[in-house]
């Protein structure tokens, strides 16, 4: 056990030894966060150990519906993604950027002196690894780097989990090329395998840091049969996804479709609540709030997550750039699947399905794209723009 395992190695950890893996991560001083049940909801919260994971639970997801159910085994990761994503840790939804203190006509900046949490993310799915890579492009790879995101991201330890065929009713990661198997961006990646009577994890080592954690955990080299069994778990998931999205030329399709009547049709159903963007793991929009305390002597600047569905979002000249609900839904969908490519060189959608599950009226991004695509031919003669 003393020789370090190489990056890329496949190991087996028995489920009975799995608590030691989390204990080893914990000992490194990380703040462990991962899936846990709170008040009957599947959330990402603080974990003290394996006991906090939703063992034996799974979920059913459909457009506008999420339901937790019991499994007939004790799988630790036998569910999909819930309403929350890891972005709440890397891009805190409400964050104090600085304070300033006034003295007469003068004032002085007081940069924040906070301790930045060092997170270990337990149970990150492949779609969410891709979502982090997308937010890396936004917050780290543009002209300006966001320091709040940067430190949290650079410090985070990532324990990924390959999806095991549960809770994939609204996912379409295969269409987006983002899953269900984790291929990058993790320290360790697990596949949970539960054939008759057995329960073990196939572990792929992604970094030396991940290998270091394994030093203290009972494990053995994986055999060919175990590797194959894990691969078939992921393959079964891939074959069972509830949604598909045809990405062929989707950017051009949307650029051609600014005046498509489907926008009116979906706007009639859309509540403009913004749920889809709150739950989206790549949406990065935020607003800035400048406030003072009651004495007026101390000012604060807060950053707060914001969504493009409000009228205020694009406020200008006493009005909004996008006053109609139609134009705001169009902004969201077109941003995810079209303008994002021009802005960041990738898709803004990773196919996690959260926007479908958590839409109160069950609007389905895959269905909207299908409808626009299918009716496009019959609308050829209308006044479409030609970009």
């Amino acid at each position: 056990m003393a020789t370090p395992v190489p990056v890329g190695a496949n190991l087996v950890i028995e489920a009975t030894d799995f608590p030691q893996l989390l204990a080893a991560v914990d000992r490194l001083g990380y703040q462990m966060v991962g899936p846990t049940l709170r008040d009957g909801h599947l959330i990402y919260g603080d974990l003290t150990g394996v006991a906090d994971l939703p063992a034996g639970w799974t979920d059913e997801q459909e457009a506008g519906a999420f339901r937790l159910k019991r499994r007939d085994d004790q799988a630790l990761f036998g569910y999909g993604v819930g309403q929350q994503s890891w972005k709440q840790f890397l891009f805190p939804p409400h964050h104090l950027l600085w304070r300033a203190a006034r003295r007469g006509d003068d004032f002085q900046m007081i940069p924040p002196a906070e301790a930045v949490p060092r997170y270990a993310f337990i149970g990150v799915r492949s779609c969410d690894l891709h979502a982090m890579a997308v937010q890396d492009r936004v917050f780290l790879q543009g002209r300006h780097v966001d320091p709040v995101y940067q430190v949290r991201r650079e410090q985070a330890f990532i324990l990924a989990v390959n999806c095991g065929g549960q809770g994939c009713g609204t996912c379409f990661c295969v269409s987006m090329g983002t899953g269900p198997r984790a291929t990058f961006g993790f320290d360790l990646a697990l596949t949970e395998v539960l054939p008759e009577g057995k329960h073990y994890f196939l572990v792929e080592v992604g970094t030396d840091r991940g290998a270091g954690v394994l030093q203290a955990v009972p494990q053995r080299a994986a055999g060919a049969a175990e590797i194959a069994a894990a691969a078939s778990v992921v393959a079964a998931t891939a074959a069972n996804l509830g949604r598909q999205l045809d990405t062929q030329g989707v950017k051009e399709l949307l650029y051609r479709s600014y005046e498509h009547p489907r926008w009116d049709e979906v706007a009639a159903r859309c509540l403009n609540c913004g749920n889809c963007t709150w739950v989206c793991p790549t949406c990065f929009c935020h607003t800035i709030e400048d406030v003072t305390d009651l004495t007026g002597m101390v000012a604060e600047r807060w950053r707060r997550q914001d969504v493009c569905f409000t009228v205020d979002y694009s406020y200008l000249h006493g009005g909004s750039i996008r006053p109609s609900p139609r134009s705001r839904y169009r902004q969201w969908l077109t941003h995810k699947l079209a303008t994002w490519f021009d802005q960041f060189g990738c898709s803004g959608c990773v196919g996690c399905g959260r926007c479908i599950t958590w839409c109160p009226v069950g609007i389905d991004i895959t269905e909207e794209i299908r409808a626009i695509r299918e009716t496009e031919a019959s609308l050829k003669e209308t006044e479409h723009g030609d970009l």
Binding site: M109, R143, H286, T287, R322, R330, D342, D386
Partner: protein
């Protein structure tokens, strides 16, 4: 400035040196770094985020001369919460500054060509640094026309400077207003009515346009009608802005972030978006 200020959300404190009334609701402010520290360099057309203590922040174009980098000049119209606080600051008061941000007017690439500037209202402010540049390097440019429109004579910015410019023989200034009393010597009518009279060689001209969106739309149409191609026209766009960094999302305009891809755009690159509504 960004280099010695690693947190791009942290304003740097500047002192208001002078405040000059331009119109009933618009003031030009001169700011300096307290202690007269290093210079502030920027390119014509760029903007800063100006912060009034506790009130908030607003994107404001830099309206001073690029060569005079010891003072930072802004022209601000009092329209609301933040701009009111800025316009009310007295000499000695402090404001926060983040910037400079955004893509500038292509003044260097324009060398050797005729210059046409069309400004509406406050749109003259972000163009003034470009005008200073052209005047300072006058020999590098061909014919030079400024067409400036405002609602009334009292709404014209930089009145004294306009008069001085009008006196130059190498620079034609057309000031026009929507309505005026009998004592107004300039033109009456919207800026587009002046464009047919502007002197330039369409094959060798760059036009810079800034003003309300509708004014820009008609101006562009008129310039195209005079034989310019879309690639010879630059427009400066306005959007709601919160960060200036390309991070907050608010200034999105189709595939563009106006704060970092703009505010100055070459018209041919944005033509299709310019014509779309509610983008």
């Amino acid at each position: 400035m960004i280099e010695n200020n690693p947190d791009p959300m942290l304003p740097e404190i500047f002192e208001v040196k002078r405040l000059q009334r331009e119109t009933a609701d618009t003031f030009t402010l001169e700011l300096t770094r307290p202690g007269g520290a290093a210079e502030f360099s920027f390119a014509p057309g760029q903007f800063n985020m100006l912060y009034a203590f506790g009130r908030g922040e607003a994107p404001i174009s830099i309206s001073g001369a690029p060569a005079r980098s010891d003072t930072l000049v802004h022209t601000v119209r009092n329209v609301g919460n933040v701009t009111r606080a800025i316009c009310k600051s007295r000499p000695g008061a402090k404001l926060g500054v983040r910037g400079p941000f955004g893509a500038p007017w292509p003044v260097a690439e324009m060398a050797g060509q005729d210059v046409v500037i069309v400004a509406g209202g406050l749109g003259l402010a972000p163009l003034r640094p470009a005008i200073y540049h052209f005047l300072e390097h006058r020999a590098d440019y061909g014919n030079f026309e400024l067409i400036y429109g405002a609602r009334t004579p009292a709404d014209l910015l930089y009145r004294r400077e306009l008069e001085r410019w009008r006196g130059r023989f190498d620079f034609r200034v057309h000031a026009t207003v929507d309505t005026a009393g009998a004592d107004w010597r300039g033109g009456v009518g919207v800026v587009t009515t002046v464009i047919p009279r502007a002197r330039f060689d369409p094959a060798n001209t760059i036009a810079l346009v800034c003003g309300p969106q509708l004014m820009m739309r008609y101006t562009v149409m008129e310039l195209l009608g005079r034989g310019l191609t879309p690639a010879q026209i630059y427009v400066s766009m306005e959007r709601h802005m919160k960060c200036g960094l390309g991070l907050c999302g608010h200034c999105q305009w189709g595939p563009f972030f106006v704060c970092k891809d703009g505010p100055v755009f070459r018209y041919d690159t944005v033509k299709d978006w310019f014509e779309r509504r509610e983008v």
